[in-house]
C-alpha cells in the first residue's frame, strides 16, 4: 500500500476531492499547510511597511491506496489540480506497511 500525498492549490480542493471520490477512492485526509517553492509569495503592506508572505496557503491531501491504484490516483490529481502555473504543487508517493481501521480492527488492504 502507498500513501499518495499531494500538495495542491487550495481552490482546487473541491475539484480534486470530487474527482478522487468519482474514481472510487474511499477516503482521504486533508490538511491546511503553507508552501514554499518556486512560486513567489506576495507582499502585504501595513502603514507603508512591507511584510513579505513567502509561505503560501496550500492544501495537503493524503490518500492511502493499494499499490495498483497509485497511478490512477496520481493521474486524477494531476488532471484536476493542474492550472499550468507555477505553484500547482507536488505529489509524493510514500510506502505504507500496514493500515488499520479503528472501528473494526481490520488490517491491511481491506482496511483502506
Amino acid at each position: 500500500m502507498k500513501k499518495v500525498e499531494a500538495i495542491i492549490k487550495p481552490f482546487k480542493l473541491d475539484e480534486v476531492k470530487d474527482a478522487l471520490a468519482k474514481i472510487g477512492v474511499g477516503g482521504m485526509t486533508v490538511t491546511e499547510v503553507k508552501g514554499f517553492g518556486k512560486q513567489k509569495g506576495h507582499t502585504e503592506i501595513y502603514r507603508g511597511m512591507e511584510y513579505v508572505v513567502d509561505l503560501l496557503p496550500k492544501v495537503k491531501i493524503e490518500v492511502v491506496v493499494k499499490d495498483e491504484e497509485v497511478e490512477k490516483v496520481v493521474e486524477t490529481i494531476i488532471k484536476t489540480a493542474q492550472t499550468g502555473r507555477v505553484g500547482d504543487g507536488k505529489i509524493f508517493i510514500i510506502p505504507v506497511e500496514d493500515v488499520i481501521r479503528i472501528r473494526t480492527g481490520e488490517r491491511g488492504e481491506e482496511a483502506i
Binding site: I45, R47, G48, Y51
Partner: protein, 421 residues
C-alpha cells in the same frame, strides 16, 4: 414680583426636574457624552490596539487599556481633577487639595446648568483615554507592573498639568490658545510621551506591524469614531449650535482624512488597505479635535485631508529611517496629527462659528499662540515621561525578558491565549 414667584412655582416642574437652574437637555448631553468617551477606551481603544498587534500579545494590549482606565479613574478622583481644575497656582497647576477625593463637587454648575459632578465625570474620561493611548507605542515588550505604575504617575504628574494650562485657567488659557477638545492636551501629550517611552524601552525583536485581526481594528476605529462625537461635540459643554458644528466637522474631517490616506496608499502601492482606512479615520479624528468647535465644515474637510499624508509620511518613511519602535504609531498618528490639527486650528478658526479668529480671518498671531502651546506640551511631556521612565526602570525594570517576549506576553504575563477557535 408675585407673578414671577408664581411663574417659578409653575414653570419649573414642566421643564426641569429640580428648581435649581438645572437644564435637563444639557445634563443629558453631558451624561451621554461622558458615557461615549468611556466607551472609546473600554473597549474601543483596547480593541483597536488589540487588533493591530500580533496575536501572541493581543491580551496584554487589551489589559493595558483596561488597567489604565481603572487606575486613572481613581487617581483622577483622588487628586487629578484638583490638579487640573483646582484654583490656579501660578498658571501651572491647580490646587491639589481643592477637590481632593471628590470634596466639594456638589450642586449645579451655574455656567453650564448641569451638575458640577458632571464636569468631574466628563473630564475623567479624557484623563483615562489619554493615558491608555500611550500604551500603543510600548506593546509587546513592557512589563505589566511597570505599566501599572506608569499609568498612576503619568496621570498625576503629566496629564492634569497640561489640562490645567489649557482648560483649567493655566498659562496657555491666558494666552488664548485654542484647543477645543484636546489636540494638545490629549493627543500631542500622549503622542510625545509614547515616543519617549518607546525610545526608553527599545525595539521589539520583531518590530513589524502585523495585525492579527483587522475586523477588530475596524470595530475599534468605529467605536472610537462613535465615542469621539461625545469627545468633540461634548466638549461644547452644552447642546447647542457649537456642539452641532463639532459633530459635523468631526464627520467631514474624518471622512476626508480616510479618503486622503486611501489615496496616498493607492498612489504609492496601488492597493488601498483597510488598515490604512482605519488609520485615516483616527488621523482625521485627532486632527479635527482641537478645531472641532472653531472651524466651519469646509475648514474641517481641509484639515482632515491634510492630516493623513503627514501622518502617513511619518509612519511609513520617517519611523523606518530613525528606527524607533513606536509599535502602533501613537506618535506618528496622535502626536503628528495632533500637531497638524493644533496649528491649523490657528489658521482656520472662523469667528462665525464660535468667536475665535484664525489666520484666515485676519488673526495671524493665533498661529503663534498655537505653536507655543504645542511646544510647551512637547517639552513638558517629553521631559516628565523621560523622568518617570527612568524611575520605573530603576524600581521595576521596564522590559520583559527576551523569552517572555518571544513566547508572547499573553502566555508569559497573563497566562492566557486569546483564541481557541
Amino acid at each position: 414680583m408675585g407673578i414671577l414667584l408664581l411663574l417659578l412655582i409653575f414653570s419649573f416642574p414642566l421643564f426641569a426636574s429640580e428648581g435649581n437652574g438645572l437644564d435637563t437637555g444639557n445634563t443629558t448631553w453631558m451624561l451621554i457624552s461622558s458615557a461615549l468617551v468611556v466607551f472609546m477606551t473600554v473597549p474601543g481603544l483596547a480593541l483597536f490596539y488589540g487588533g493591530l498587534d500580533k496575536s501572541k500579545s493581543i491580551l496584554n494590549t487589551l489589559a493595558m487599556s483596561l488597567v489604565s482606565f481603572a487606575l486613572v479613574s481613581l487617581t483622577w478622583f483622588f487628586m487629578g481633577y484638583s490638579l487640573a481644575y483646582g484654583k490656579d497656582l501660578g498658571g501651572f497647576v491647580g490646587n491639589p487639595f481643592q477637590y481632593f477625593m471628590g470634596k466639594g463637587i456638589k450642586g449645579i454648575n451655574p455656567d453650564t446648568h448641569y451638575p458640577a459632578l458632571l464636569d468631574f465625570m466628563f473630564q475623567l474620561t479624557f484623563a483615562t483615554i489619554t493615558t491608555a493611548l500611550i500604551s500603543g507605542a510600548v506593546v509587546g515588550r513592557m512589563k505589566f507592573s511597570s505599566w501599572v505604575l506608569f499609568s498612576i504617575l503619568w496621570s498625576l504628574l503629566v496629564y492634569p498639568e497640561v489640562a490645567h494650562w489649557v482648560w483649567g485657567g493655566g498659562f496657555l488659557a491666558k494666552d488664548g490658545a485654542l484647543d477645543f477638545a484636546g489636540g494638545t492636551v490629549v493627543h500631542i501629550n500622549a503622542g510625545i510621551s509614547a515616543l519617549v517611552l518607546s525610545l526608553l524601552l527599545g525595539k521589539r525583536k520583531e518590530p513589524y506591524l502585523v495585525p492579527n485581526n483587522i475586523p477588530l481594528v475596524v470595530l475599534g476605529s468605529g467605536i472610537l469614531w462613535f465615542g469621539w462625537f461625545g469627545f468633540n461635540a461634548g466638549s461644547a459643554l452644552s447642546a447647542d449650535e457649537v456642539a452641532v458644528y463639532a459633530m459635523v466637522n468631526t464627520t467631514l474631517a474624518t471622512s476626508s482624512s480616510m479618503l486622503s490616506w486611501m489615496l496616498v496608499e493607492w498612489l504609492v502601492s496601488k492597493k488601498p488597505t483597510v488598515v490604512g482606512m482605519a488609520s485615516g479615520i483616527i488621523t482625521g479624528l485627532v486632527a479635527i479635535t482641537p478645531a472641532a468647535g472653531f472651524v466651519n465644515p469646509t475648514g474641517s474637510i481641509i484639515i482632515g485631508f491634510l492630516s493623513s499624508p503627514v501622518s502617513y509620511y511619518m509612519v511609513a518613511k520617517v519611523k523606518g529611517k530613525f528606527g524607533y519602535d513606536d509599535a502602533l504609531d501613537v506618535f506618528g498618528i496622535h502626536g503628528v496629527a495632533g500637531i497638524v490639527g493644533a496649528i491649523l486650528t490657528g489658521v482656520f478658526a472662523n469667528p462665525e462659528v464660535n468667536g475665535a479668529k484664525g489666520l484666515l480671518y485676519g488673526n495671524p498671531e493665533q498661529v503663534l499662540i498655537q505653536i507655543k502651546g504645542v511646544l510647551a506640551t512637547i517639552l513638558y511631556s517629553a521631559l516628565l515621561t523621560f523622568l518617570i521612565g527612568l524611575i520605573l526602570k530603576a524600581l521595576l525594570g521596564l522590559r520583559v525578558s527576551e523569552e517572555e517576549e518571544t513566547y508572547g506576553l499573553d502566555e508569559s504575563l497573563h497566562g492566557e491565549s486569546a483564541y481557541k477557535i
